[in-house]
């Protein structure tokens, strides 16, 4: 795909927590527009990969965002470039109100009108956030907190959205609702998403491209559609 | 450098500590060395609590004060001989330490530091309190007599006092060494490093923490008693925040969780203020403070860790 624009290019990524190495030379890309997913079991290194992109851990290798190296930059500076990250556990500011959580999402922006427009869009997508606007975020349900986390990340006005297990700990009905909304966001805004999921069928349903991670290495990658259709692949690697 | 970590070293050190000062030291030097012994015991007491068990105390000066006043009152009011006051002060301080350790149990690191700091601030006021004035002598304090050498030994008062303190100190150091090397010491360190694991291993954390507090108070209290006998005087303002912080500085500089570090810390707090005076005539405290910060950055394990590093021995404490 020589003509495709690569929003994120990762080459030979190694990552470690202190002494224990978690990532062993990952190469992957996220195309401009569309959804890329990293699949894998618990402990495969999915969360670590997202953390590496956001500069939250020490890494080796090359990470290019829109053609520019971002490796070694501070996390807040990477966010400033337009990479929004919904971390594992959702990263809710429990002690603050929903409104304040959302205002923080827009911390890097100075265009008041644009922020207001984006906020209106988020209320459109997640009407429940409007109802809970002045409530303390710690009192929200898990599903509402996930919606808040996505809305908070969207208010950054990101070019790339990193999502860490958006389905984690949520009831199937809410998960479906959230993934439908994510699909809508991608269609309407042309945003690029890199989503990490344990629930492969869910992620493959909205993804364009998928990578399968096992103990810090990719064992398979390809177009999401091909993987979805190939039963042998699915059964041997994803177990469904 | 291996020499410093060998098994024979403590004995050789003790022998040298007995002989050399008696041969060479002037009365004033002997007094200073006696105070080094006293401070060693106090710093060791704090080290058991903070270094080995991880409970940060900024108020151990209060226990030192209780020990000092116990001895002073027993000698002054009841006419007890100086040596007979030590068991009383050990028991009283252990008891008070245990009582203070009870609420302290529920306090995480910073809260305990804060509460003990408050204790240090309040101690002089309590000692001055009018209701106790008949015993404590109020602001004036209590003056004590210097003991003579017993059994007609051919020793000056200062020499005898030095040996007496050294003997008590050696006893307490031996006790501490045995404690920290055995099962109890392992439990103390486990509580400091891995409280959850310690609990899972069946260690009664609450009991260990309060008893460590009592032990620390006992050591520090005995040091206070010896200090009172040596200085021959107790007065409230000597037992405020600076004293507690001095012990803290001694522990950090000597090295947390190190028996030998307590001696080095004591040498530091006895002699460095003099040297600091010479570096900067008016601000010895600043030299103290900046050194403390420098240690935190460059040598968080204190002088003891420096010797360990130089002798290439892995840290076991």
């Amino acid at each position: 795909m020589p003509l495709m624009t690569m929003l994120l290019e990762v080459k030979g990524l190694h990552g470690a927590y202190g002494e224990s190495k978690v990532l062993h030379g990952l190469d992957f890309v996220v195309e401009e527009g569309g959804v890329t997913t990293l699949l894998g079991a618990n402990g495969a290194g999915k969360t670590t990969t997202l953390r590496a992109v956001s500069g939250m851990i020490r890494t080796q290798g090359e990470i290019l965002f829109a053609g520019k190296p971002i490796q070694g930059m501070a996390t807040e500076a990477i966010a400033g470039l337009g990479i929004a990250h919904v971390p594992d556990g959702r990263g809710t500011f429990m002690e603050l109100t929903v409104e304040e959580n959302l205002r923080l999402g827009a911390y890097t922006r100075n265009d008041k009108a644009g922020v207001a427009a984006d906020l209106a869009k988020m209320f459109d997508l997640f009407p429940r956030l409007r109802e809970r606007f002045h409530q303390q975020a710690g009192t929200l349900s898990g599903g509402e907190q996930q919606m808040l986390a996505i809305a908070r990340a969207m208010l950054l006005g990101p070019k790339l959205l990193l999502l860490d297990e958006p389905s984690f700990g949520l009831a199937p009905l809410i998960v479906r609702e959230i993934f439908e909304i994510l699909g809508r966001i991608v269609r309407e805004s042309g945003l690029s998403i890199l989503v990490v999921e344990q629930n492969a069928s869910l992620a493959l349903a909205i993804a364009d491209r998928a990578y399968l991670l096992e103990t810090g290495r990719f064992v398979m990658s390809g177009a999401a559609e091909d993987i979805r259709k190939d039963e042998t692949l699915r059964k041997s690697y994803l177990g469904y | 450098m291996q020499f410093f970590t060998s098994r024979a070293f403590p004995w050789l050190f003790l022998a040298a500590a007995v002989v050399l000062p008696l041969l060479f030291a002037s009365d004033y030097r002997l007094f200073q060395l006696t105070m080094v012994v006293v401070y060693s015991i106090a710093v060791l007491g704090l080290n058991l609590l903070t270094g080995y068990n991880g409970q940060v105390s900024l108020g151990n000066g209060a226990f030192y004060a209780i020990g000092a006043y116990t001895t002073a009152i027993l000698m002054d009011k009841l006419g007890l001989p100086y040596w007979a006051t030590l068991p009383f002060s050990a028991v009283i301080c252990a008891g008070v330490g245990f009582l203070i350790g009870l609420p302290a149990l529920r306090l995480g690191g910073m809260y305990l530091a804060l509460t003990t700091f408050a204790l240090a601030v309040a101690t002089p006021q309590l000692l001055k309190y009018k209701a106790f004035e008949n015993y404590t002598g109020g602001v004036q304090g209590v003056v004590l007599d210097k003991p003579d050498a017993p059994f007609g030994l051919p020793l000056s008062q200062d020499q005898w006092l030095y040996l007496f303190c050294l003997a008590v100190g050696a006893l307490l150091f031996a006790l501490a060494m045995n404690l920290v090397r055995g099962r109890i010491g392992r439990a103390m360190r486990a509580i400091r490093d891995q409280p959850l694991a310690a609990e899972a291993m069946g260690i009664d954390i609450a009991m260990f923490k309060t008893r460590t507090f009592a032990l620390s108070a006992m050591f520090t209290g005995v040091a206070g008693s010896l200090g009172a006998i040596t200085i021959q005087f107790v007065a409230p303002d000597a037992f405020g925040v600076p004293l507690s912080l001095t012990f803290f500085v001694g522990m950090v500089v000597g090295g947390g969780a190190s028996i030998g570090g307590a001696v080095m810390g004591a040498l530091f707090i006895q002699f460095i203020p003099n040297i600091a005076d010479e570096i900067s005539k008016a601000a010895p405290g600043a030299v103290y403070g900046l050194l403390l910060i420098a240690f935190m950055f460059l040598l968080p394990g204190g002088l003891a860790s420096l010797i360990r590093i130089l002798s290439g021995k892995k840290r076991t404490a």
Binding site: A79, M94, L104 | V56, P103, T115, A118, V121, G285, I293
Partner: protein, 290 residues
């Protein structure tokens, strides 16, 4: 009865000072879970800066307006240079550094300014007490200043983007970085603000208790007590706690224990709060952490 009312009013006046220092402590505690033992000494040092400026011929309020930002810079610098590198060190290391700062400030002040008690001017005039003799001019003025400071700090945290970012950085540094908040800079700012508040508290209390290098030890203790009483995780609680402690101190000193045991009262409050209700009166316990 008149005496009683007077004690309450003095209690509010000194309570305001304790509330300010308690707020400074809580700001740093919330962000780092460290109690800054050097907060009082930093405030004392700032007060000496103000005195030096006044003695150099500057009008009081000019000195005031220079001292506060200078203290801010000193506080922020200390965070950047000394505290930041040790931010992940164990409790003992941070306590060690705080004690090191305390000793350094104390003795540098003693060295430059000597340990003798010095009178510090009040900007509110020495005239007759007001309102039937219940309130001295300084008590009224310093309480007003304290309230203005506390209100502006509250408004800053509540209504400005920077204030929100500082709160966020304190509660959840990881998430804050992910939305682009430079957390380290927020901590430095917090230290600066705390130092500035401390400086004002020092200048307000110095005319009452005279200025010397050990001036703030007692104030710091009451601020501890106030912060714990109100809840060290809750700035508003800490402020209320500071006022309550001020009133308790004055009433207790006048009617119960006498002035000699005032510091012990603070110790007593600290121990009682920590054993009976460690979260303090207004300490928050979150409903849900799912």
């Amino acid at each position: 009865m008149d005496g009683f009312i007077h004690q309450i009013i003095s209690g509010i006046a000194s309570g305001g000072i304790y509330a300010s220092v308690a707020l400074a402590l809580v700001m740093i505690y919330q962000a780092t879970h460290h109690v800054n033992f050097a907060q009082g000494e930093m405030a004392m040092f700032s007060t000496y800066i103000a005195l030096t400026l006044i003695q150099a011929g500057l009008p009081y309020w000019a000195a005031f307006c220079i001292t506060v930002p200078v203290s801010f810079v000193i506080g922020a610098l200390i965070q950047r240079v000394v505290m930041e590198p040790l931010s992940k060190a164990p409790v003992l290391a941070s306590v060690g550094v705080f004690i090191g700062l305390l000793l350094t400030f104390n003795s540098v002040a003693g060295w430059i300014f000597t340990y003798t008690l010095k009178p510090f001017p009040t900007p509110f005039g020495e005239g007759k007490p007001l309102f039937g003799g219940f309130v001295s001019r300084h008590e009224l003025g310093s309480t007003a200043i304290t309230l203005v400071v506390l209100l502006s700090i509250w408004a800053f945290f509540r209504f400005t983007k920077l204030g929100l970012a500082m709160r966020a950085a304190a509660f959840n540094p990881v998430s804050s970085r992910l939305v682009g908040v430079p957390v380290a800079r927020m901590l430095a700012l917090g230290w600066g603000l705390a130092a500035g508040i401390g400086a004002i508290a020092g200048m307000m209390v110095a005319p009452v208790i005279f200025l010397d290098p050990n001036m703030m030890a007692g104030v710091l203790l009451y601020a501890f007590a106030g912060a714990l009483l109100g809840g060290i995780t809750n700035p508003l609680g800490a402020v209320i706690g500071g006022f309550i402690v001020g009133i308790i101190e004055n009433l207790g000193g006048a009617y119960v224990v006498g002035t000699e045991l005032k510091l012990t009262t603070a110790l007593f409050i600290i121990v009682v709060v920590l054993t009976v209700k460690p979260a303090g009166l207004f300490g928050k316990t979150l409903v849900s952490r799912v």
